[in-house]
């Protein structure tokens, strides 16, 4: 009985890594499509996003089954409950990557300085997602903490982008639509960063039993 439970835990672990890898792929594609202005590349995000959704349901089913049949306690219970929380965040990352892909279709080939800032954001948020999944794979609280800290970088860049875009609209009202599209993309990347932080927090919880730096009970 016990070994079956261990097998299921390992399966849950593997499936989570696989889902994380899909998320990485989706947002890497989104960033690449954005930087190269390639709307066709952006089209390829949609199927990945559907895969991510399917994975979410699979993992949810598996977790529920394990909770009901095996009634885990302590660390195992933490692993499963944090897995269920993590997949929600990962699914959101996939959605947002797909949303970015949609907007890229409207952008065209225009390149401005603000665009470079957004590319920086894209790189930073990809790094955060990759690191948060690394933290999960290695059960490494230190990596998780570095993800949580690096959210500030993305947030700051977002503020810069916002200011730059406000100026842009003020100076060239004709570029308004373009500026708003860029703002949306920037916001999505900022959200992806937040979700990566959430994932990292759940990793911390599942390893140490402490959520968001609270005292353990």
């Amino acid at each position: 009985m016990r070994s079956r439970f261990d097998e299921q835990l390992e399966l849950l672990n593997t499936e989570l890594v696989r889902m994380g890898s899909l998320c990485e792929e989706a947002i890497a594609l989104a960033a690449k499509a954005l930087m190269q202005g390639d709307a066709e590349l952006a089209q390829r995000i949609k199927p990945i996003e559907r895969d991510i959704d399917a994975k979410e349901r699979d993992i949810e089913n598996l977790s529920m089954k394990m909770l009901l049949h095996q009634q885990p306690v302590a660390k195992d219970l933490r692993s499963i409950s944090s897995a269920m929380k993590m997949i929600t965040d990962m699914e959101r990352i996939g959605d947002q990557a797909a949303d970015i892909g949609e907007i890229i279709g409207f952008l065209g080939d225009k390149r401005t300085d603000e665009f470079e800032l957004i590319c920086d954001m894209a790189r930073a948020s990809i790094g955060m997602v990759t690191k948060s999944i690394d933290a999960f794979v290695k059960r490494d609280v230190e990596i998780a903490e570095s993800v949580i800290k690096s959210d500030d970088i993305v947030d700051n860049t977002f503020t810069q982008v916002k200011k730059a875009l406000t100026l842009m609209i003020k100076n060239n009202p004709d570029d308004g639509e373009y500026a708003l599209d860029l703002l949306m993309i920037a916001k999505y990347f900022e959200r992806i960063g937040d979700h990566a932080v959430n994932v990292a927090e759940w990793v911390e919880y599942s390893v140490s039993g402490i959520y968001k730096g609270e005292q353990s009970i």
Partner: protein
């Protein structure tokens, strides 16, 4: 074991108790029954005799509680009964003892009461007048005896139970103790039941074989890991569920994985789609490969299934670092493209000038100028081809005996060759330092010194200076050439030794270099075992030092 012993003892006790009770009971019962019958026959004889002597009066006087006397006429009518009213009793002719007595003078029989709890013995005797006298006596039956025995039997059972319990506990402890204390690590040293010695010696034999197997296995494992751990290539073995069976240190280094990843899914080591795809394919029995880029290094991944009985039992994944290889590949591609370009450009000039001359378009007074251009470009081509030949000679590694070379002399020679060019741009060239002998090949040392001086002049500003210093240090002789020229940007420092690499691509042709000079320096230095260090400040100048090994 205790339970089993308890059960056996208790059952045995119970069986013995039951059998003996039944046996003794039945023997006693039949013995007492016979005694009863004999006593009753005797009593009947006495009563009959008394009755014949004394008549009816004896019967009425006889008031024994334990005996019942009945007088029956020969037709069966009851004439007298000591217990009941004679007239109320039915005809007794059918009674067994009466019938018997009528026929044989005396008879006897016994009957159970309605409840079976009592048994009545009858004895009848024929009197001289033909009447029959019958005496009966009632006793409790074997069943009532049994019911009466129930309590004592229960008590005995309880005692047997307790006794069995205590006994079995003690016995089993006593029997089991030597078994519990068996030392299975040294089976033959045990002093225990003889019956166990066969088992123990078998255990000893198996233990020895196991130990031997374990040793063999460990040795094989050690051999395997010694081989794989020392490989430069990463090696991962996975099972059918994609779980890692073995991962060598090179692979761990490549994927930054810990040792504890053994037993976990391969996806935890690298989760890139290409890699998981390759791993997934080959555990299904298909070989495949892919390229991976991890932390700036390029890797070639080859995965092959491990087939046992035509079924994939796992896979073997090899990872090669091809960063250097693909860099060399790139350099080679660039070299070919550059060579063709560099060769083509002067040829175009030559062809253009020659065509004009051929068609007679050129004015006679300009012919000299055109011929001069053809000569210049052709000599440029010759220099280029010479450089390429020199480089390829170095590439081929044409081995010449090393000799003693005077570094200072060679440096002075090289400085002389560039003096003319330097003077035309008002650049001073100065050689300083003591005589230093090194072991090397004069031609190659000159090549190094000349190319460094040539570059120092070529990429210098007008009125600049070139300093050539020679010094002897502990680690060897150093030749340094420093200039006051344009300098090299930091991001190009690594690439200046590549063939045809130009820092400023747009102005390279004006300077007239071939782009192969430093490449030759690098190769020659490598050939001589010398080390090159470059330091440069953009706009201020460059210093290149070559450290020749000690003799």
């Amino acid at each position: 074991m205790t339970k089993k012993i308890f059960n056996s003892i208790f059952c045995a006790t119970l069986a013995v108790l039951l059998i003996s009770t039944v046996f003794i009971g039945s023997v006693l019962y039949s013995y007492f029954g016979n005694m009863q019958r004999d006593a009753l026959a005797e009593q009947t004889g006495i009563v009959a005799a008394e009755y014949e002597k004394n008549g009816e009066a004896y019967l009425t006087a006889f008031s024994s509680q334990s005996y019942r006397i009945t007088l029956i006429s020969s037709d069966g009518t009851v004439l007298f009964d000591s217990v009941k009213d004679a007239t109320a009793l039915e005809n007794h002719l059918g009674r067994e003892e009466v019938t018997q007595a009528l026929a044989e003078d005396s008879g006897s029989s016994e009957r159970f009461s309605d409840t079976l709890l009592e048994k009545t013995y009858y004895n009848a005797k024929k009197l001289s007048n033909g009447n029959i006298i019958r005496v009966s006596h009632t006793k409790s039956s074997v069943y009532s005896l049994l019911i009466g025995l129930l309590q004592p039997i229960a008590a005995v059972l309880l005692v047997a139970f307790i006794l069995s319990f205590v006994l079995s506990h003690r016995l089993s402890n006593h029997i089991v103790k030597p078994l519990e204390n068996l030392d299975l690590e040294h089976p033959l040293e045990n002093d225990t039941y003889d019956e166990l010695s066969a088992v123990l010696s078998k255990i000893e034999r198996q233990r020895k074989t196991l130990l031997k197997r374990e040793d063999e296995l460990k040795q094989k494992n050690d051999e395997f890991s010694a081989v794989t751990e020392n490989m430069n290539e990463g090696l991962i073995l996975i099972g059918t569920d994609s779980e890692i069976i073995s991962i060598n240190s090179a692979a761990r280094k490549i994927f930054l994985a810990e040792r504890d990843c053994i037993g976990r899914n391969i996806i935890t080591v690298n989760r890139s789609p290409e890699f998981t795809d390759v791993a997934g394919k080959c555990i299904k029995g298909k070989s495949s490969d892919c390229l991976l880029t991890i932390y700036g290094h390029e890797y070639q991944v080859n995965a092959n299934p491990v087939m046992i009985d035509e079924k994939a039992a796992g896979a073997c994944i090899l990872i090669f670092d091809i960063t250097e290889k693909s860099r060399n590949e790139r350099i080679r591609r660039e070299f070919t493209a550059n060579v063709s370009h560099e060769l083509k450009t002067p040829l175009h000039s030559i062809m253009g000038a020659a065509e004009l001359l051929k068609n007679g378009i050129v004015k006679p007074e300009d012919e000299k100028q055109f011929a001069g251009r053809i000569y210049d470009e052709a000599s440029r081509l010759v220099t280029l081809v010479e450089d390429i030949i020199r480089l390829s000679q170095l590439d081929e590694g044409v081995i010449t005996e090393k000799e003693s070379v005077n570094l200072t002399e060679v440096a002075k020679e090289a400085a002389d060759s560039v003096k003319e060019e330097a003077a035309s741009r008002n650049i001073t060239v100065a050689v300083s330092g003591a005589d230093v002998q090194i072991s090397g090949i004069k031609r190659l040392v000159y090549e190094i010194a000349y190319n460094l001086c040539d570059n120092a002049v070529r990429y210098n500003n007008e009125n600049g200076s070139v300093k050539i210093e020679i010094e002897s240090t502990q680690s060897g002789a150093v030749l340094s050439v420093s200039d006051s020229g344009i300098g090299i940007p930091e991001d190009s420092l690594e690439r200046i030794f590549e063939r045809f690499y130009r820092v400023d691509k747009s102005h390279s042709r004006e300077t007239g270099g071939t782009g192969l000079g430093l490449s030759i320096v690098k190769h020659a230095a490598e050939y001589l075992g010398a080390e090159i260090t470059v330091s440069s400040t953009l706009g201020k100048g460059t210093r290149i030092s070559v450290l020749f090994p000690k003799i």
